[in-house]
């Protein structure tokens, strides 16, 4: 949320000169961040005031208009893309030869066959504002052909100030002036004092502490040029007198107002909650369904405005309006905030009400109205009163507790007096009366925040380093990804929401976004694999079809989420010298085994139910009988879908792995020789290597230290060549012992798995 403030308006409001160079920094340091400072540009006399005499649609382009523009000494044909051009409006014309602040020079041109000798300018094109919704349009007569710079205050400086939600008090010239003056002069600006209007009414409306309706006989008309310029520079659309007047007062004082066409209102308007099924068509033509939580203004016929947000179209003022009902009200900020959220409708009025409007501003606004319209005011009804400010009791010790022992509470609290707070010290505490415009301050922590803000965060004393340290936490715990980095894997980060088309029919209860950025980012990923494949596809399209990548992040199920780590190798190795082994299943399996070597009892079991993986070339990974992930070749149909080749992956759920750094006990090194014996077997094709090792391991031979596969080939049968290593810690294992162990093994493998020994023992 931001507000655009004119430096000149600020000075005019304060009646003093402010230093342009320092005010932006001061505001920023006070928590009113000046996001941009726009310095008025110097426009040449090629920029003049013109009047649109006639306008028609461009015959060859739907979005363009042909305008005849009178610039005094001549009438120019100008093609304009702005949709709001209208005959009799006054505009700023850049004539041929004019140079826009962005460096573009205006030249005679033909646009889709139609001549164009100049350009109708918007405020942003003139370099006055950052953005603008269309060209500058005036409705009040101005002398044609005169230098535009003389008409619009170009030598102004605009501050685009970003406002935090707590600072409703700064949502006006009055509020910013208060801050700017205090920053530059160290004290609060002299506030215009309003005559408090105390009006009683038997009827009191809900959540509406003050409510005034002025009936004014004042025919609508074009608004003053000075207002139009200021409003447009501040980002409002100038329309007609009544709309501009309410916007002008709101921008200056922070008090939103609404003008109804008095002759279109049936009976006496009142404030109430909407009824079930009531609707309203608001200014601009959009229709809203109302609910009983929404505060509205209603007349005898029904809703005529959404309280504090926007007026209805039926009762809106037009140029024909002769009498208006001018509403000035104080609404509870929570109620207006709720209306805007329920309706998703934000207006400059609701932005102010939702942040809190100074109840005193109602009286300032009323005084303005009374002064301007004097005899035209037919009646004033409603209720309003003197405002009772909030008082907060603050202990000195609390100030020090929050801000630090270096704080001097009494002195800090005294500073508040320069900001219209009233302070009564009493022993070790103070009673602080908060000015009405600070609707954000009601508790002692909010007062402390203000104390710190006035003192400045920047210069607040910082504690010694020794105070902020304590027992260091051990972060030496290795991350699983360390091994992957060492093997040349690139870490990726993909979006947690993915395209549902990748999931097919397999994940019916997957958490899905109600309001995704787009359909292809709408479902929470059950796996890291599709996101990685999609990123690999992106790379493959850029001639990077061979890669090793990984990602760690959350994966989601219907009611849970879990940290996961996935790695993928893809592509055929390029022919290189020296020759490199291709990345395959066994490369990733070896890598995963190494990564998890500190985790107890990792084992791999054939599996065929992972949707991403090849049903006959994938395995489930278990740690102590708990499933911790999968590994395998990516399903060929998925590889094809992503346009990738030779894709192997694993994904493990790292939350399920206890990353305990085991302190290994050192085993004594045997001083006896080891003996190796190689045997080869023929096995039926349904016998896996794991079947063989489990039979051998079940036999538990203490001297058998290692069983290593050194060759496997497939013909009609499978041939496994296995190396057996024997060693004892107590003696030399004799040849006859080895022979006995091996004959037992051979016999077991024969009887349990029907393995045939090739050759002799």
């Amino acid at each position: 949320m931001s507000i655009v403030i004119s430096h000149k308006w600020l000075e005019e409001y304060l009646g003093v000169n402010l230093d342009v160079t320092s005010i932006a920094d001061m505001l920023t340091n006070a928590g009113l961040e000046v996001e941009e400072q726009i310095n008025g540009s110097s426009l040449s006399d090629k920029f003049v005031i013109g009047k649109i005499i006639a306008t028609q649609k461009h015959p060859n382009a739907e979005k363009l208009n042909l305008c005849q523009v009178d610039v005094g000494e001549q009438v120019l044909d100008i093609v304009c893309g702005c949709s709001s051009v209208v005959a009799n409006a006054f505009v700023v014309v850049a004539k041929v030869g004019a140079v826009l602040p962005n460096g573009m020079e205006i030249k005679p041109a033909k646009l889709r066959g139609e001549p164009s000798n100049g350009m109708l300018c918007s405020l942003s094109e003139l370099g006055i504002t950052k953005e603008s919704s269309g060209i500058v349009l005036f409705h009040e007569p101005v002398e044609l052909g005169q230098h535009a710079a003389k008409v619009i205050a170009f030598d102004d400086v605009l501050y685009d100030i970003s406002l935090t939600p707590d600072r409703g008090d700064c949502f006006s010239i009055r509020g910013i002036a208060r801050e700017a003056h205090a920053l530059q002069y160290g004290q609060l600006m002299p506030e215009q004092t309003a005559n408090i209007i105390e009006l009683n009414s038997s009827e009191q409306y809900p959540h509406t502490p003050q409510y005034l309706i002025h009936k004014i006989n004042f025919a609508n008309q074009a608004s003053k040029l000075a207002w139009q310029c200021r409003l447009q520079a501040a980002g409002y659309q100038s329309q007609n007198f009544w709309v501009d007047f309410t916007q002008y007062i709101m921008h200056e004082l922070g008090q939103p107002m609404h003008a109804f066409d008095a002759d279109k209102v049936a009976g006496k308007p009142c404030v109430r909650f909407a009824k079930e099924n009531e609707t309203i068509t608001v200014i601009g033509g959009k229709k809203y369904e109302l609910t009983p939580e929404i505060l509205i203004i209603a007349d005898d016929s029904g809703p005529i405005a959404i309280a504090g947000v926007i007026g209805g179209e039926n009762t809106a003022v037009s140029l024909e309006s002769q009498n208006v009902l001018l509403e000035i009200a104080s609404f509870d900020k929570e109620k207006i905030a709720k209306s805007t959220q329920l309706l998703s409708l934000h207006t400059s009025a609701s932005d102010r009400f939702a942040r809190g409007v100074d109840p005193y501003a109602l009286h300032l606004a009323h005084n303005k109205v009374a002064a301007i319209f004097k005899d035209n005011i037919e009646s004033v009804r409603g209720y309003s009163s003197k405002i009772k400010p909030v008082a907060v009791l603050l202990e000195y010790s609390y100030v020090q507790k929050v801000l630090g022992p270096s704080a001097n509470p009494k002195q800090l609290i005294d500073n508040l007096q320069q900001r219209a707070f009233k302070v009564e010290h009493n022993l070790d505490q103070a009673l602080i009366t908060v000015p009405t415009f600070r609707t954000d301050i009601t508790t002692k922590i909010e007062v402390v925040e203000e104390l710190l803000r006035l003192e400045g965060h920047q210069h607040w004393q910082c504690s010694a380093h020794s105070r902020i340290t304590s027992k260091a936490v051990d972060y030496s715990q290795p991350e699983l990804s360390f091994e992957l980095l060492a093997q040349g894997f690139n870490e990726m980060l993909t979006y947690s929401f993915i395209d549902p088309k990748w999931l097919g029919d397999h994940f019916n209860n997957q958490p899905t976004l109600a309001n995704p950025m787009s359909q292809d980012m709408s479902v929470m990923r059950p796996s890291l694999i599709p996101g990685l494949l999609s990123s690999l596809q992106y790379n493959a399209k850029r001639q990077l079809s061979s890669a090793r990548v990984f990602e760690s992040g959350k994966v989601f199920q219907s009611n849970s989420e879990c940290n996961a780590l996935a790695a993928i190798t893809v592509g055929e190795p390029e022919p290189t010298w020296p020759k490199a082994d291709p990345d395959d299943f066994y490369f990733l399996k070896g890598l995963l085994s190494k990564m998890l070597s500190n985790v107890a009892d990792i084992n791999f079991k054939k599996c065929s139910d992972n949707v991403w993986l090849h049903p006959h070339a994938s395995a489930a990974v278990y740690a102590s009988n708990e499933l911790i992930g999968h590994i395998g070749k990516v399903h060929p149909s998925i590889q094809t879908k992503f346009g990738l080749k030779n894709v192997v992956t694993f994904e493990i759920y790292t939350d399920k792995i206890a990353m305990t750094k085991a302190n290994n006990k050192v085993e004594p090194i045997s001083k006896y020789p080891l003996s190796k014996k190689d045997l080869s077997f023929f096995a039926e094709e349904n016998i896996s290597f794991a079947d063989i090792t489990s039979v051998i391991n079940a036999n538990k031979i203490p001297e058998l230290r290692k069983i290593e596969l050194f060759d496997v080939y497939y013909s009609e049968k499978i041939s496994y060549s296995i190396s057996f290593t024997f060693q004892s810690t107590v003696n030399t294992v004799s040849d006859s012992d080895i022979l006995e162990h091996l004959s037992n093994i051979v016999a077991l493998l024969k009887s349990e798995l029907n393995l045939e020994l090739r050759g002799d023992l």
Binding site: Q341, M517, S535
Partner: protein, 336 residues
């Protein structure tokens, strides 16, 4: 000994000195060796002659001859080992390789820049005693908003666009601050935690991504205050960006902290916003039944992606999630 004998030996000595250098193989070497030290060598003949002399004279002659013999022996010894090592060197030539051929391709892995920053920060803050905790990314209104003092219709809920899930009351967390609530519920006070992780907002352009990363710090104790918070922030960012880093602390607003502020650092001539900070709002603590007269806390949050962009000069946030390997591999060897 006769003068002529002495002369002859000196002549032979000079002859050997000049000949030995030109010897290049073992055949020449053996010829020369037998010529000077062999059975029929001049030296041997002189020795035979000397035997015929008086014992006294013989001893003198023999001493002289033997000193030449031993000196020449050393010359041949030296030459022999020279030839031997030369022969061995020649033999090794057969094993010659082209050392300029490429080494085996060892691809260099790379950590994602966001995670490089995350690791650096967890190390810096770990050394201050902060412990990493993890929290859910799918949250509910209570943890993401209500318990963080963002009332249902508070304007701050409009500050960020939230992703909602189809199931009732579920949303993607919009900030890692929701971790504060989980931590305050579960852990005992005092509490020092950091929580890095993904957050989600409905926004996408050059500087906004619908998914990005934050790191949240929370310290709740009987004795912690705003001065401490400033010290932690200054320490953290100096460790990350350099010891002469300049700061701008500005008041700001967050519903879950009070006072609240934003921190800018001076980087390459301009001020860049890097953190939001503040004292934990007493309402946040009170909602977890913590005595706010006894305890208070401080917290800050940083955008990891943003810090990575500043540190590594990345101009488009979206590049972070495009996963172009040509981008990622530039972080190979970057120390975390």
């Amino acid at each position: 000994m006769s003068d002529s004998g002495t002369e002859t030996l000196a002549q032979l000595n000079a002859e050997l000195s000049s000949k030995i250098d030109s010897i290049s193989d073992f055949a020449e070497f053996n010829n020369l060796k037998s010529e000077f030290l062999g059975k029929n060598s001049a030296l041997n003949q002189m020795f035979s002659q000397a035997k015929k002399l008086e014992p006294e004279e013989f001893r003198a002659q023999a001493d002289m001859i033997n000193s030449y013999r031993s000196s020449w022996g050393q010359v041949f010894q030296a030459k022999q080992s020279e030839l031997k090592s030369k022969q061995e060197y020649e033999k090794l030539k057969q094993d010659a390789i082209d050392v300029t051929l490429p080494g085996k391709n060892m691809p260099k892995g790379s950590m994602h820049p966001v995670n490089i920053v995350r690791k650096r920060l967890t190390t810096i803050l770990g050394q201050l005693g902060y412990k990493v905790v993890d929290g859910p990314e799918i949250e509910d209104e209570l943890h993401n908003f209500t318990a963080l003092n963002v009332a249902r219709y508070h304007p701050a809920r409009g500050m960020q666009d939230t992703f909602y899930l189809n199931s009732v009351d579920k949303l993607l967390r919009t900030q890692t601050s929701s971790i504060q609530i989980h931590a305050l519920k579960k852990q005992k006070l005092p509490l020092k935690i950091i929580s890095p992780g993904k957050v989600y907002r409905r926004d996408s352009d050059q500087t906004h991504s619908p998914m990005f990363h934050q790191l949240e710090l929370l310290n709740v104790a009987e004795d912690c205050n705003f001065s401490d918070l400033k010290a932690v922030l200054i320490h953290t960012f100096r460790e990350l960006f350099g010891q002469d880093l300049k700061f701008r602390f500005r008041p700001s607003y967050f519903p879950f902290t009070e006072p609240s502020g934003e921190l800018d650092i001076e980087w390459q001539g301009s001020w860049l916003e890097v953190a939001g900070y503040g004292m934990v709002h007493p309402n946040v603590l009170a909602m977890q039944n913590i005595d706010t007269e006894k305890y208070n806390g401080y917290a800050f949050g940083v955008g990891l992606d943003r810090l990575a962009m500043i540190l590594f000069g990345i101009s488009d946030l979206r590049q972070m999630f495009q996963n172009d390997i040509r981008f990622l591999s530039q972080f190979a060897g970057e120390e975390a």
